[in-house]
Every structure is written in structure tokens, then in C-alpha cells.
């Protein structure tokens, strides 16, 4: 079920009526959330519900066992079980085909002819998100940073909570789980904020992202596009993926607010970043902090000397790239950002102190060049295509429809650019995306425009969010 579809609107209306009506025991509310979340998830394919339930039950059991056990060896075994269970699930459904094909390619190079793959494994939607969420739960208990969930129902609701189930934000149990054990307050400010976030998120998805998507499709689909089309197409994709994913995160946060829950901020105007490190502090924050806390630190972080720190950093980004998809161009994208972080680290070490305004502008421009070239690698679909697009940057031929491409990009990219510009002027861009610019009474006009534009571009079926495929 997609947020931007008619069926979801009906589902949400029905759910909210029930939710507001069942005010009473916590178990009723959480039971309703679990039932609704499994319905929401099972709408894609009811068989996938068993994976979600299996992953949840495994980690709930491991959490309990970790709490009961004091022996370090036994605790390691329990954690190992959780890691093995979740990573096997992820590995099989998401990466098995990729590694099989890659191995077959290597074997073919050395003279073996393995059997070609005729089967296809379906990728369960949201699997990368909820396995990371359940893993963080068991790791936190193992690290004694939190206790195990007292109620299975609370835990099931935490893992399956439908607003953020399929594309995050990847919630930490320490933040979200306790909310299922408390009375939630549905306030006037919370509801108004929720509606504002949902409207803003829907606008980003339905109006901005879905209208930029065909531009990127066109630019990346055409044979020998030439530099202007590659540049405009890459810009379109960079703005599209932001609007798509930040839009989803805003809708998720807004829905949670309507129910009285709080989800984490996932984006902080990423295209204001003045360096690659800052970009990752602003982009998909719930993933970047997850990778930092559970992968980078587990690898040793910066505790084992500068050389090892660099290896850990690079490896973390490489695996972060692979998390996005089972393909080598995602690994290349991760490596690109890993290299960027290493270069920034070395650069920063040599240049302490404040920088001039001009230097900050130059740093921002350089960062955007870096980030958007990264989007070219990300969107290309294969390393071969990324190379041909890169070579195509030398050809400055302009197609007859180049003006139409530029006009579409300007109009549909404007809300993202304008939002960043306003946020950059206010509070030096430190505010989160959802804080929004201070518009006063104009907010109503803006919301009216958003609502009308959403209606204008609304499709009954909805188009999937980009991050669903990860």
C-alpha cells in the first residue's frame, strides 16, 4: 500500500476512526496498530507478513534471552543468533542473486561455465529497514544500553509501525519502543504539525518527485545524451531522490504525529552541506547514524589509529552503498562517498580555523559537484553506463528538446531549491527540514497551494517511492 494512493487514504481514514475510538487500554491501541500495520504490509503480498513476524519474534526472543543471561559467552551466542538470523534474511532475499551472478561472472572469466540463473527472488519491501531496526534492538540490549521489551505486543508494534515500516526513518528501540508503553497525547499542535508534515511530504512526492522522475528517466534512458542532458538529468535525479525520500519521511512523521507518536528527523536540508561529512549529517540521518553506531564503531571506529580509522570509514561507506541495492554501481557510489569522507578528513586536518565567506561558498559548490556526480553513479544502473555517461560529459551537443527539459527542471525543482535557500537564510540551515520557513499567515496560502497541486498531480494507484526498492 502506497501513501500516495487512493487505497491508502481509505485505509487511513478507517484506521484513524478506529484509533480515536479505541481509547482505553494500551493493549487495545497497540493491538490495533499491529493489525493495521500487518494489513498495510500484507497489501503488497500477504506471504511477506511471515518474514516480518519471524524477524520480530526472533529478536524479541533474543532480547529476552540476553536480559536473562549474564555469561559473556552466552550473550555473544544470542547476539550472534540475532545477527545471523537477520543478516541471512537480508542476504538471501536481497543479495543472493547479486552474489550468485557476480560469482558466475568470475567463474566464466576463468573458464568455468556455471548454470545461468533462471529463477528470481522477490525483494520483500522494506526488508532493509526493519532488519536494521530489529538488529539495533538486540545490539543495544547486548551493549546494556537498554532493557528488553516487556510486552510482545509493544515490540511487534515497534517493528511494524506502519508509518515508517517500509522506508524509515530507521527508529531506535530506545526512542520509539517506550512510546508504545505510555499514554500518548493527541494535542492541537501535534495534529496541526502532523497535517502540515503530511501535506508537505505529499507535495514533495506527488508534485516534485513524480514530475522530476520522467526527466531523469529521459536523460538516463537516451542513447548518447551529451553533457547538457546528462547534467540536467543528474540534477533532476538529485532533486527527485531528495523530494521522494524526504517526502516519505515527512509523511511518516506526520502520520505518527496524528497518532501521538514522535519519529526521528531524517533530513536536515542536505543540499546546504559545505562538505561530504556534513552531507551525511543531513541526509538519511537515521541510516548514517545507524551505520556509525553499529558498523563503524563495531569495526573499531577511530580507536585503533589513523590508518585503521580510514579503513573503517571507507568500509562503512562501501557497505552503506551496498545497503542501497544489490548492484556494483551502488558499491561504487558507496566507495565514492567513502573516498570523499577520507579526502575531507585529510583536508580538514591540514586546515584548522574559520574560513572566509568565499571559501565556504566554494566548499559548498565543490560538495554539490561531488554529491551530484555521486547521484550520476547511483542512477546510472550499471558501472558501464556510469562510465559512458562520464565520457559523454565531453560532448556538449544540445537536443531539440533541451529547453523543455530545462524548463521542467526549473519549475518542479524550484520547491526543493527554494526550501533549501530559505532554510539556509534562516538559522544558517541548522533547522530540520520539517521546521519549515517562518511564513506566518502565508502558511495557509502555501498549504492551499500544496493541496491543490497534490490534487492536480494525484494518481489513483500512486507511484512507488524510490527507497522501497532498497
Amino acid at each position: 500500500m502506497l501513501f500516495n494512493s487512493d487505497v491508502f487514504l481509505v485505509f487511513l481514514a478507517g484506521f484513524l476512526l478506529l484509533y480515536y475510538a479505541v481509547r482505553g487500554r494500551l493493549a487495545w491501541r497497540n493491538g490495533l496498530i499491529v493489525a493495521a500495520s500487518y494489513t498495510f504490509y500484507g497489501w503488497w503480498d500477504w506471504r511477506l507478513m511471515s518474514l516480518l513476524a519471524g524477524s520480530s519474534l526472533l529478536d524479541f526472543g533474543v532480547g529476552r534471552a540476553l536480559m536473562r543471561s549474564e555469561s559473556p559467552g552466552r550473550r555473544r551466542c544470542w547476539l550472534g543468533l540475532s545477527l545471523a538470523g537477520n543478516l541471512s534474511l537480508l542476504g538471501f532475499f536481497k543479495y543472493f542473486g547479486f552474489f550468485y551472478d557476480s560469482l558466475a561472472l568470475v567463474l566464466a572469466q576463468i573458464g568455468f561455465e556455471p548454470q545461468a540463473r533462471t529463477w528470481q527472488i522477490i525483494l520483500p519491501v522494506g526488508i532493509s529497514f526493519y532488519t536494521f531496526q530489529t538488529l539495533s534492538y538486540t545490539i543495544d540490549i547486548y551493549r546494556r544500553q537498554m532493557g528488553a521489551a516487556g510486552s510482545l505486543l509493544d515490540y511487534l508494534a515497534y517493528v511494524a509501525f506502519f508509518p515508517q515500516l517500509v522506508a524509515g526513518p530507521i527508529e531506535r528501540a530506545q526512542h520509539l519502543l517506550p512510546q508504545f508503553g505510555e499514554t500518548r497525547h493527541i494535542t492541537r499542535a501535534g495534529v496541526a504539525e502532523g497535517i502540515r508534515l503530511i501535506l508537505g511530504g505529499m507535495f514533495l512526492k506527488v508534485v516534485v518527485a513524480d514530475n522530476l522522475a520522467p526527466l531523469a528517466d529521459l536523460a538516463f534512458g537516451v542513447a548518447d545524451p551529451g553533457a547538457p542532458v546528462i547534467v540536467l538529468g543528474t540534477l533532476a535525479f538529485g532533486l527527485q531522490i531528495y523530494a521522494d525520500f524526504a517526502g516519505y519521511s515527512d509523511i511518516a512523521r506526520g502520520l505518527a504525529r496524528l497518532l501521538g507518536f514522535e519519529l526521528r528527523v531524517n533530513f536536515r536540508w542536505p543540499y546546504l552541506a559545505g562538505n561530504v561529512r556534513e552531507f551525511w549529517h543531513r541526509w538519511h540521518i537515521s541510516l548514517s547514524t545507524w551505520l556509525r553506531d553499529y558498523l563503524y564503531i563495531s569495526l573499531g571506529g577511530s580507536r585503533c589509529g589513523p590508518g585503521r580509522t580510514r579503513v573503517n570509514l571507507f568500509l562503512t561507506m562501501l557497505l552503506g552503498g551496498l545497503w542501497h541495492g544489490a548492484a556494483w554501481h551502488f558499491v561504487l557510489w558507496g566507495a565514492w562517498h567513502g573516498a570523499g569522507l577520507l579526502i575531507h578528513r585529510a583536508w580538514r586536518g591540514n586546515r584548522p580555523g574559520s574560513e572566509s565567506r568565499l571559501a565556504r561558498k566554494a566548499a559548498w559548490a565543490g560538495t554539490m559537484l561531488f554529491v551530484f556526480y555521486g547521484w550520476l553513479l547511483f542512477r546510472a544502473g550499471s558501472i558501464g553506463h556510469a562510465v559512458s555517461l562520464t565520457l559523454g560529459l565531453a560532448d556538449w551537443s544540445w537536443p531539440a528538446w533541451g529547453g523543455s527539459l530545462g524548463l521542467n527542471l526549473l519549475v518542479f525543482g524550484a520547491p526543493v531549491i527554494l526550501g533549501h535557500w530559505v532554510a539556509g537564510r534562516e538559522a544558517s540551515g541548522a533547522a530540520s527540514d520539517d521546521a519549515g520557513p517562518g511564513l506566518g499567515a502565508w502558511r495557509w496560502v502555501l498549504q492551499g497551494i500544496q493541496l491543490a497541486a497534490i490534487g492536480l498531480f494525484w494518481g489513483k494507484q500512486g507511484t512507488p517511492f524510490i527507497y522501497f526498492q532498497f
Binding site: 499514554t183 500518548r184 493527541i186 492541537r188
Partner: protein, 324 residues
């Protein structure tokens, strides 16, 4: 412990939702008022390939034209006939009004009717060209005709949209503001060749209404029946078509070629028989029997459309045939 409590009243919720809804209602009222007093542009919902082609031809039919040869027909007429090449071969200005969608003969007749309202009858020739595969059935899609009707009546295409779209004026925005002016990206091969609706429109205008099919036929991929027949319903349709042409207009009828792998080796004779039968029903003044019935698969973009090179060559032969 209670599951949740409310620190909000219904009045608060209404107060939060009312201003944006009121803003939307105001915009809708302005849109409808604009239609009522006639300040918005004419509705031209050219939002995809089919509608852009159909509406381009409808708009072209209303313009003053020097054309003496007017081509109408199915999508093979649109894709296979370059009127500039025909004009060079015959020395007579030509215009292609072929459409991509399944417009029936009544729809073709409406295009021609408009054309002859805008242009005086002075002995022009209408050339009706179809792919023989199109004659097996009568096209039954109703939407191309209703788009034409809406266009000529300067009506918003609201008959096809949902109630909310209609009330809130979304169709007015799509048809009157976005459609004519806004370049909407095209998907697939058409997108890669023409980019956007506005560019497709311009390309058609520059090519006298002709469109090059940008697709590529994979060798060996052609599938289809090698049996050609003409449905009986074409008799009534054909006679009606002829009867509605203004007096003094000549009618020529012909077939566009099919790929050789979709023939059973006897299409030359069978095709000529079919064409004569059809031309008889149409009471055609000229039967274009000299056109090639089948061509090599490598000249086709799809099983019914020639590629750019093929279209140029066919147009040349068509010009010679029309000159006879």
C-alpha cells in the same frame, strides 16, 4: 494507563483544516469563473503521445492550407507518409492528417469536414491510406472521437474525469493551462526522440503532420497473422465517408506496406483484391494499386509502421503513384 488522551477539540481540528480547504475552493471557483467568462485559453489536453498527435491534427485541420493532397488514415498513414517528399515528387503541396489512435472513418471525416470549412474546395485530393491489417476490424475506441468533439466544441474534457477533478477545476488546469503550453515528458522511444509533448507538436508541424516512428523492430521479432481480410462493416463506413466528402474532391485509396514476414507470399494479388473491394465501397476516384504490398522487415519500426528511411522511400513511391 489510558492508551491516549485528547488535548484537542473538534473545533480545533476544523480550524486547522479549514484555511487550506478554503484556499482550494477559492482557486476552484476562480478556475470555473474563468471558463464561464472565457478568459482561459482553449482546452488542448495534449498530455501524451496519442492526444498530442490527435490534437495537432485537429488543430491543423482548422488552419488555412495550400495543400492539394490531404492524407488521412490510420497510424501507418501518419508514420509512413512524409508530405514534404510527396510534394516534391508531385509538385502539389501536401498535408498529413493521419492519427496515431484508433480513430474510425467518422472521425477522419470530421477532420476533413473541418479542413474543408477552413479551406475552399478547389479540386484537392483526399488520400485515404490504411494498413491492410487495420481492415480486419472496425476501430471501436470511443475516446479519440470524444477528444475531437471536445476540441472542436472548445469544451473541457471533463466528461472523462472524476467528480472531484471536475469540481476542483483540475481538468481546466490540465486542458487549458498545462496541455497547450506545458512540455510534458514523453515515455519510451518517443521520449528519446521527441522529448516532450510541446517538441513533438513542433516536430509534427515542421513535417507537415508526419511523424517518424522512433521505435526499432528487433530482427525476427515480428509476430502476427498473415491472413488479410476486410470486415463487412467497412462497406457502410466507406460509403458514408465518400458521401460526406464535398463535391469536387477527388478520393484516392491505398494500402501501406506490411513486413514481408507477415505475408504468405500471395499478398500482392490478395492485397490488390482487397484494395479494389475497399475502393469500390469508398467509390474512390483513384486506386493506388501500384504501391508495394510488402517490404523487407528491416525497413520497419513496428509491424505496421515503416522506419525513417522506409517512410522516405514509400513517400517517394506514393508521390509517383499519385502522379500517374
Amino acid at each position: 494507563m489510558r492508551s491516549h488522551d485528547y488535548q484537542i477539540r473538534w473545533a480545533d481540528a476544523v480550524r486547522a483544516a479549514a484555511p487550506p480547504l478554503a484556499a482550494v475552493a477559492l482557486v476552484a471557483a476562480i478556475l470555473h469563473l474563468g471558463v464561464w467568462i472565457g478568459v482561459w485559453p482553449r482546452p488542448i489536453p495534449a498530455l501524451d503521445v496519442d492526444r498530442t498527435v490527435l490534437l495537432h491534427q485537429a488543430a491543423a485541420s482548422e488552419v488555412r492550407s495550400e495543400a492539394e493532397l490531404i492524407f488521412v488514415g490510420d497510424s501507418s498513414c501518419l508514420m509512413d507518409v512524409d508530405p514534404r517528399v510527396v510534394a516534391r515528387a508531385t509538385g502539389r503541396p501536401a498535408l498529413n492528417l493521419g492519427t496515431l489512435s484508433h480513430l474510425d472513418l467518422e472521425g477522419q471525416q470530421r477532420l476533413l469536414g473541418r479542413f474543408f470549412q477552413a479551406n475552399p474546395v478547389r479540386g484537392q485530393t483526399v488520400v485515404l491510406l490504411m494498413n491492410p491489417a487495420s481492415l480486419r476490424l472496425w476501430p471501436e475506441a470511443a475516446w479519440p472521437s470524444s477528444i475531437l468533439d471536445d476540441f472542436y466544441a472548445r469544451r473541457d474534457p471533463i466528461g472523462h474525469s472524476s467528480g472531484i477533478d471536475r469540481w476542483l477545476g483540475f481538468e481546466i488546469v490540465r486542458a487549458r493551462l498545462l496541455g497547450p503550453a506545458w512540455p510534458t515528458p514523453l515515455p519510451g522511444a518517443f521520449g528519446q526522440r521527441y522529448g516532450f509533448t510541446r517538441d513533438l507538436w513542433r516536430a509534427m508541424s515542421a513535417q507537415g503532420g508526419h511523424l517518424i516512428d522512433p521505435r526499432r523492430l528487433e530482427p525476427g521479432s515480428i509476430r502476427g497473422s498473415t491472413e488479410y481480410s476486410i470486415a463487412a462493416v467497412w462497406e457502410k463506413g466507406g460509403r458514408l465517408f465518400r458521401s460526406r466528402l464535398p463535391r469536387g474532391i477527388r478520393l484516392a485509396a491505398g494500402f501501406t506496406p506490411v513486413p514481408v514476414s507477415l505475408t504468405d507470399g500471395d499478398l500482392d494479388r490478395r492485397g490488390r483484391d482487397l484494395l479494389r473491394q475497399w475502393a469500390e465501397w469508398l467509390e474512390a476516384d483513384q486506386v493506388l494499386t501500384g504501391l508495394p504490398a510488402a517490404w523487407g522487415d528491416d525497413r520497419f519500426a513496428t509491424p505496421t509502421h515503416l522506419d525513417e528511411e522506409g517512410a522516405r522511400e514509400f513517400s517517394m513511391q506514393l508521390g509517383i503513384e499519385l502522379g500517374r
